[in-house]
């Protein structure tokens, strides 16, 4: 037997052992634990604000930690920082490359980042001395498109790419600190844990992976989806992961028991999930779909408790928002917010 064949067999055996180890701790289900709980009542949403100004598709947006400012990226070649309460544009940043696919707001509020088909992550300083917003760093090393980026701090950022890897960067030196390799398909999205020790990535290999930021290792891999994982997020307390896929379902994975808890699906939903966000308590899951709908799920009962067309509103919660699947009108809608 060749070495490759031996390794393949070993890999299959290890995967079987992991499956067995997961079964061994599965002495309860979410359905059982939530059996005595009533489904939440119907959720009504209202459009509260419309942020107009972009001239082409808006591909991404990200809230600032203050839940008032947010940044959006459009293929009109602009990054716009909005005051969502007044709907004023705080900054309109022209981009070198208009093929932007993602943007991020630093927790401090000092920096924003974006990237896309240029394979780079560009960092912009919003608080420069002369008031002008300039490119601070261009992080180049990925050999594929930048699908997502998220700041850990003003000095570190994590990026995910179509080259199947994620990278932790040192922003000051512009160099790679750690490369997270292991996915067998384009990495589509990432989310950082509330404690900033881990991050999760969703990819076109149909899996989600949990990574230890400091160790550089993949601690857990979650399969089960039947197509690309486009959207990913942490459950608010950091103990579970939520994924959204082209297979039209969302799934909840328990990090402590290392397994899938439940699937959010409905036979009437046949299009992919593009974005998601849990509510403050984690009771509700807001998910954006390719048909421009946002579905609201009761996370404990796996029942749909609300459905809204993007034209009516995009719900936001806890500083997160569900991106419109593809906002072709060039405006970005934000609604019925919440405070921490």
């Amino acid at each position: 037997m060749g070495e490759m064949e031996q390794l393949r067999k070993e890999a299959e055996s290890l995967k079987d052992q992991i499956t067995a180890a997961r079964k061994a701790v599965q002495d309860s289900t979410l359905q059982e634990a939530a059996a005595g709980i009533t489904v939440v009542g119907r959720i009504q949403m209202k459009t509260r604000k419309t942020l107009r100004g972009h001239l082409a598709k808006i591909y991404a947006m990200h809230w600032s930690t203050d839940s008032k400012l947010c940044v959006s990226a459009s293929q009109d070649g602009k990054l716009i920082v909005w005051d969502s309460i007044t709907t004023n544009k705080v900054n309109a940043i022209p981009l070198k490359s208009s093929w932007v696919m993602t943007c991020a707001y630093a927790p401090s509020g000092n920096l924003v980042a974006c990237g896309g088909l240029d394979n780079m992550c560009s960092i912009y300083n919003l608080k420069g001395k002369d008031g002008n917003v300039k490119v601070m760093r261009e992080l180049a090393a990925h050999t594929g498109y930048l699908s997502c980026c998220r700041f850990i701090s003003d000095t570190e950022i994590i990026t995910s790419s179509g080259d199947c890897t994620c990278i932790l960067w040192d922003i000051e030196t512009g160099t790679q600190k750690t490369v997270f390799a292991g996915h067998q398909g384009d990495c589509m999205s990432l989310a950082v844990a509330p404690d900033f020790k881990f991050f999760i990535s969703g990819a076109c290999d149909f899996t989600a992976k949990l990574w230890d930021i400091r160790e550089g290792t993949c601690r857990q891999t979650f399969g089960g989806h039947e197509s690309d994982v486009n959207a990913i997020g942490f459950f608010p307390n950091g103990n579970a992961v939520i994924t959204g896929s082209d297979d039209a379902t969302c799934k909840l994975f328990d990090l402590r028991a290392d397994q899938e808890l439940i699937t959010y699906q409905d036979s009437s939903i046949m299009c992919g999930v593009t974005s998601l966000a849990p509510s403050l308590s984690g009771r509700l899951l807001l998910a954006g779909y390719d048909d421009f709908n946002v579905n609201i799920w009761d996370m404990l009962k796996a029942e749909r408790v609300g459905k809204y067309m993007w034209k009516l509103y995009i719900p936001l919660e806890n500083g997160r928002k569900v991106d419109p699947a593809e906002d072709s009108e060039g405006s970005c809608r934000v609604a019925a917010g919440t405070e921490h």
Binding site: R22, S28, A33, C164, C204, R219, Q220, T221, S279, G337
Partner: protein, 67 residues
């Protein structure tokens, strides 16, 4: 999906060994904790409490806003 070469396959096997070693907790404990955490948080969740929504900063207070 990509086919792995030899070095990648070796890394994959190493990673799987590491992932297998993870200390899994019983789901009866983890799921109960999750449900409790949610239920404890529901009273503070604005989407589930109309009372809390009254402080919604995005609702227009009047016809004009002083900028």
């Amino acid at each position: 999906m990509e086919e792995m070469d030899l070095p990648q396959m070796k890394k994959e096997v190493e990673s799987l060994k590491y992932q297998l070693a993870f200390k899994r907790e019983k789901s009866s404990k983890t799921v109960t904790d999750l449900v409790k955490w949610i239920e404890d948080g529901v009273p503070e969740d604005p989407f589930l409490n109309p009372e809390l929504m009254k402080n919604n900063p995005w609702v227009e207070k009047g016809k004009c806003i002083l900028l």
